[in-house]
């Protein structure tokens, strides 16, 4: 119906047909970024550069030679991807003011296809966190905190508390990217996903969050958290858009030896996806302690949707999932300890004034440059890597990682095509609740349903599914076979069509930016 038309509005065709120019689109996004500054979604807004890119794009459209679907589309990039000429901070004192001399491969690919880079989005320091609350530039606020849906259901119930204290977190660590997409300030954003950092905030912010197969997209230029698990993530407002961005990024990169050797053929998703011949696995271990009853109910409702569509839905077991968190902790901190060793104040980044000796300069630089979370992980990681501990921790964790990956292989080998799970245990919590627990506890809880896919390198996607009783988004996760992104996204698209996730109603933003908002809410670009 009418609603569907609006939802499927294609900005790309609008650009092609001249209904809107890249410059207009860019200006509107920049205006929205300004009016939603309170969300703290962006660390750096590259206004001038973006307008210049938009101008170039406009010339191409005028010549009738746009570079492709992405030409003129405003995008945002998480601030742990290197961008030449634009600050890359990782939300850390260590890299405040750091301007990289090169573009990450994914950034370069987007620019090469005419995308307009608006700016760099906020995150937990060095992507270590699950709330986007632990960066040096402050926490990101979930746009849904300011939606009519949330206010009606939550704020009205507690008149005594002021609105200020009720805002909810975005999840993380790619919270800035999720908030940016969710609040219409851009059409797509890059996140990174090491243990769930793209899917988790996508779930909390009601957007699509895709973590592709490890090795499908280049990590060159992504400042690493855990090299063996990091994957650039894609955040969009619909599954089709995620497929377009994936198509523009995937494939071999000579600068990243862990990428696939083959070239990647971009694909289009069927307009009428069919799931009737599929076998959907429901892993029982994902019924984890702490899973909210409404998410559980939504999960089983989703399973019923597939059943009713003729798909085979079966319960499966991934028995080693429960060891995943502790195993992840060892592997993650070990690689963190190693990766962070380069930040010594010599070549780049923060350098302490301390000059008693080289060693004291290192120590002071790292103390001043890193927050407690980063320093804590470096400490644990170095402990696990000590000669006397290596066998007991690192090697053991690697073995468990293999078992976790084998669990998935067995299930997929047994005929299951796609796994359906919740993405998070609950909807987003208010910031004031969230910070009652420390980062480590939070990360362990929040990554529980997402990081096994990173352990196994599998593709996974969050699809916004429904609103909770509090009026906040809930997402479900699909996990697919390695390099079977097309199948995964096809299922996700079918599901997206079924659930008709409601659009965010940003009353306040709308009031102030009526015109702008009218255009931006035409959700997708493809």
């Amino acid at each position: 119906g009418m609603r569907q038309l609006v939802w499927r509005f294609q900005v790309s065709s609008a650009l092609k047909e001249g209904h809107v120019t890249p410059t207009e689109l860019c200006q509107r996004c920049l205006a929205l970024i300004k009016s939603t500054r309170f969300l703290n979604a962006y660390i750096t807004v590259a206004e001038e550069a973006a307008l210049k890119q938009a101008e170039e794009s406009e010339k191409r459209y005028k010549r009738g030679q746009p570079l492709g679907v992405l030409d003129g589309i405003p995008i945002a990039v998480k601030d742990n991807f290197n961008t030449a000429g634009i600050e890359t901070t990782c939300a850390s004192n260590m890299l405040k003011g750091y301007i990289s001399p090169y573009n990450a491969t994914v950034v370069q690919k987007l620019l090469d296809q005419g995308a307009v880079l608006l700016g760099k989005t906020n995150l937990d320091e060095f992507a270590m966190g699950s709330g986007s609350t632990d960066g040096v530039f402050g926490p990101v606020r979930n746009p849904w905190s300011y939606s009519r849906q949330y206010k009606e259901k939550s704020v009205s119930k507690s008149h005594s508390e002021d609105e200020e204290s009720n805002w909810v977190i975005t999840g993380g660590s790619s919270g800035g990217s999720a908030a940016a997409v969710s609040s219409f300030t851009c059409f797509a954003a890059l996140g990174s996903d090491t243990g769930g950092s793209t899917r988790n905030p996508a779930a909390h912010c009601g957007v699509v969050g895709l973590k592709p197969t490890y090795g499908l997209i280049s990590r060159h230029g992504l400042i690493p958290l855990v090299n063996s698990m990091d994957v650039p993530g894609i955040l969009t407002r619909c599954v089709d858009d995620a497929a377009v961005v994936l198509g523009s990024l995937a494939g071999h990169d000579p600068k990243d030896s862990t990428t696939i050797q083959d070239n990647f053929k971009p694909f289009e998703l069927p307009s009428l996806p069919d799931v009737s011949k599929l076998s959907i696995g429901i892993p029982k271990e994902y019924h984890a302690p702490g899973l909210s009853s409404e998410i559980l109910a939504l999960w089983s409702k989703a399973a019923d949707l597939f059943k009713n569509a003729g798909a085979k839905v079966i319960e499966v077991s991934l028995p080693h999932t429960r060891y995943s968190i502790v195993c992840y902790h060892v592997l993650c901190t070990a690689e963190v300890a190693s990766n962070m060793a380069r930040f010594d104040g010599l070549e780049y980044g923060h350098r302490s004034d301390m000059n008693k000796s080289t060693e004291s300069m290192y120590a002071a630089t790292r103390r001043e440059g890193f927050n407690d979370v980063v320093r804590g992980r470096i400490l644990s990681g170095n402990y696990f890597l000590l000669k006397q501990n290596y066998e007991n921790y690192f090697i053991k964790a690697q073995r468990v990682r293999r078992l976790i990956a084998n669990d998935f292989l067995k299930v997929f080998g047994g005929g299951v095509d796609i796994l359906l799970t919740p993405t998070t245990l609950s909807d987003a919590v208010p910031y004031r609740e969230f910070i009652k627990e420390d980062n480590r506890t939070r990360s362990a809880q929040d990554d529980i349903l997402t990081q096994a896919a990173n352990m196994a390198g599998l593709p996974a996607i969050n699809v916004p599914t429904a609103l909770s009783e509090r009026g906040l988004p809930i997402g479900l996760q699909f996990i697919g076979r390695s390099f079977q992104e097309k199948q995964l996204l096809t299922v996700a698209k079918w599901f997206e069509k079924q659930v008709k996730f409601p659009m965010i109603q940003l009353e306040e933003v709308k009031r102030h930016n009526h015109d702008v908002f009218q255009h931006q809410k035409s959700a997708s670009f493809s």
Binding site: C90, H220, G221, K255, S257, S338, E347, T358, E359, L385
Partner: protein, 512 residues
């Protein structure tokens, strides 16, 4: 106790090595088990001194770091070049900029495979890279990428020869086992400015590919270690896998230190080319825990042979061990055997020829261009030309005397136009590099042999007349004194007489 002592030498532009030695101390210090282990490692019994105390038994193992000859670094596209301006050969990866990743240089892999094959190693078809962590100003990433767990080549051997009691004629051949060869990154250079208490860092060398060759403790002394290193150096140069420019200073230092009864500390030493010796370097050994971990950004290094090479594989993208094996050049041991067979020279001569870069070629060129027998040519090359070169610290390629000139000179000698004494004078002139031919010098200096027999007879008679005592001695049977007379004739003729002829003339006159 079995003392573990270790040192390392670092050549300024090629090879550095860590020699480690184990020695069994006196009974008061050493549990017998350990002493036995130390001695069995060298494959012989520990000699016991007269006093009943076991003397020190050095057991030498070596870790040799050879810089791989390649145009670019091990994991980045930066050029490898000696003496470039500081920090002019530094890629983003070499400076460890966040987000950069290593990309393995195929040429370095091939060099290591070549070296492995030349050292009779088995080549691992799958090898792995590891990170070795330590903080140092010239190690920008805070870790070095190396091959700690599964190196590219293992279980090889190296045969080397050395002379006993410094006599070239008494050579023995020994073998040292090669434990492994691993690929790893070099570090940068730190320059300490003590007066301003600054450290300057040059990253040109950071990330250059090294091969670490680990030798088992099969050697028993510095001389053996030196000979093994020398042989390895020749092999690397022959393969072209490394320039292997190597300072022998460290080995020499150790030998002296040990012979003087000193202890060798657990330290890494750097070679200072100005001082001509090695100096203590950073203190990175000892209690340091390197916190090794697999390098997550590099997949396992897979090598193929003819059997395992997949048909659809792009040959540009794989390293084929068999292909490299077929193209290995003659190794020094084979070259030496060929020289001995082809030219009839002594084995020790073949060693001397190979020990100097370019000397074999020089020798062969001279042989080609002269009628003189190779057996005689070798003496002129090794005893005369080489001493000149050594005296002036020149390489063969820098020699002012070309192989053609040398051949011309030896031809004059061979045709008996000049004496060998005169030949040496000509050589001294040639050394000045004034672009005169040997013949021109001979003419100019009037060095031709005296062909006029009467003239020579007169000179001989004059010498006999002037040396009454000597003549009496000879007549009394002391024939050795004749040599003195020959010498006097030579002096009188300024080397222009044929000693054989002079001897005949003198004998004839004395028997008259």
């Amino acid at each position: 106790m079995a003392a573990a002592v270790a040192t390392a030498a670092r050549g300024c532009s090629g090879v550095w090595c860590r020699a480690w030695q184990r020695g069994a101390g006196g009974p008061g210090h050493s549990p017998h088990g350990q002493r036995a282990a130390a001695s069995s490692a060298r494959g012989g019994a520990v000699p016991v001194g007269k006093s009943g105390l076991a003397p020190w038994v050095p057991v030498v193992g070596l870790e040799i770091h050879a810089q791989i000859s390649s145009n670019s670094k091990l994991f980045s596209g930066s050029q490898v070049q000696f003496a470039a301006p500081p920090n002019s050969l530094v890629s983003f990866f070499d400076a460890s900029l966040p987000g950069t990743l290593p990309v393995l240089n195929r040429r370095c892999v091939e060099a290591a495979v070549m070296t492995g094959l030349a050292l009779n190693c088995s080549i691992n078809k799958k090898s792995l890279f590891d990170r070795k962590h330590y903080f140092y100003a010239d190690l920008p990433a805070g870790y070095q990428i190396t091959q700690q767990r599964v190196p590219i080549a293992v279980n090889g051997s190296l045969s080397y020869s050395l002379c006993i009691d410094n006599k070239m004629s008494q050579m023995v051949t020994k073998t040292v086992r090669i434990k492994q060869i691993q690929l790893e990154q070099d570090s940068g250079k730190s320059l300490h400015d003590d007066t301003r208490s600054q450290t300057l860092v040059d990253l040109n060398r950071a990330g250059v590919g090294l091969m670490e060759v680990v030798m088992e403790p099969d050697m028993c002394c510095g001389e053996e270690a030196a000979a093994a290193v020398r042989e390895l150096q020749l092999i690397l140069q022959t393969l072209g896998s490394s320039q292997a420019v190597m300072a022998d200073y460290e080995i020499q230092r150790q030998i002296e230190e040990l012979e003087n009864g000193g202890t060798i500390l657990n330290e890494t030493r750097a070679f200072d080319s100005k001082l001509g010796c090695t100096v203590p370097m950073r203190d990175k050994e000892g209690k340091q825990d390197y916190r090794f971990m697999p390098e997550p950004n590099l997949p396992p290094l897979i090598l193929y042979d003819a059997k395992s090479l997949p048909a659809n594989m792009n040959h540009q993208q794989v390293v084929n061990i068999d292909w490299i094996h077929e193209r290995l050049p003659d190794l020094p041991s084979v070259k030496r055997a060929k020289l001995v067979e082809q030219y009839g020279i002594l084995p020790e001569h073949s060693f001397a020829l190979l020990n100097e870069d370019g000397l074999t070629e020089f020798f062969e060129n001279v042989v080609k261009q002269t009628q003189m027998k190779p057996k005689k040519v070798i003496g002129w090359i090794l005893n005369v030309l080489l001493s000149y070169l050594k005296e002036h610290s020149l390489t063969v390629k820098e020699s002012p005397i070309s192989s053609l000139m040398m051949a011309d000179l030896l031809n004059l000698l061979e045709k008996k136009e000049i004496s060998s004494t005169a030949a040496k004078q000509v050589l001294a002139e040639l050394w000045k590099g004034e672009e005169k031919t040997p013949l021109e010098i001979v003419k100019e200096k009037k060095l031709e042999l005296i062909q006029d027999q009467k003239e020579l007879e007169q000179i001989c008679q004059a010498v006999i007349d002037g040396q009454e005592n000597e003549v009496m001695a000879i007549k009394a049977g002391n024939l050795k004194v004749l040599n003195k007379l020959i010498g006097l004739v030579q002096r009188e003729t300024r080397g222009r007489s044929n000693p054989v002829l002079v001897k005949q003339l003198l004998e004839k006159k004395l028997s008259e």
